[in-house]
Symmetry: C2
Subunit: 114 residues, 2 copies
DNA sequence: TGAATATATAACTATATAGCTATGCAATGT
DNA sequence: ACATTGCATAGCTATATAGTTATATATTCA
């Protein structure tokens, strides 16, 4: 039950589902997501921690950056696995998501801090 | 997006997921759920309203009682449909859910107000 | 070594949410 | 008509959550 709630609460949030949809497209670092989402860096960091605690995303340090990616089905709990699977088909036509994905396509980690 | 969030937030809550699991077993009125959940009647009522707003449950008045049931796949949005479907396989082994279901089996609307 | 950059954490504030009690409303039965 | 019962709503309080700014940590590069 605790696990279920952790996953569902993590997924039941606007900025966080936006993050998940962006990560469906490609891996991103924190500052790239910040640039696209338009919220503060600590806020993005916090959302990412909740998503990672819920097994929805994974992170890996690469030099100065931390790359985030969607968790893979074989490495997560049943709830995360199911939600990530469902999400792929969801919100495809959502205006705010579409706009976000366009921005996420072109955002560049080497320039997003400027 | 608004619809997605409404469904996910409704499902991402302890008492509410308990309600959904009980309704998988059988239809219930408010006072029966109150008796099993051990929270106040207004609190149960509020949870039910959120679940109904999210298309996860439906209600029907029957004399003095209001019967609640799970929404049927053909009458709801894609998110509710998917979550209800997933939920059937989830939390089967959860201790608190199992205990709850046992109580829900024997609760009786004609005596739960006493 | 020291500056710059990316991320995480701490501390705080504002808002949202869940619980409660009190009360209103509708249906039942005498 | 009146009392009873089931449910909904209003109003309140406590807690949880998301956002902020300030600061700490870690890596890169001159």
């Amino acid at each position: 039950m605790r696990e279920y709630l952790r996953v569902m609460k993590a997924a039941a949030d606007g900025p966080r589902v936006k993050i998940l949809k962006m990560l469906e497209m490609r891996d991103l670092c924190v500052c790239e997501m910040q640039a696209v989402l338009g919220i503060s860096q600590p806020s993005v960091s916090r959302h990412l921690r909740l998503l990672e605690d819920a097994d929805l995303v994974r992170s890996e340090k690469e030099g100065m950056w931390t790359n985030f990616r969607l968790a893979r089905p074989e490495e997560v709990n049943q709830y995360s696995k199911a939600i990530l699977e469902q999400l792929k088909g969801w919100l495809k036509k959502d205006q705010s998501i579409q706009k976000l994905l366009k921005q996420a396509q072109v955002v560049d980690r080497t320039t997003c801090g400027s």
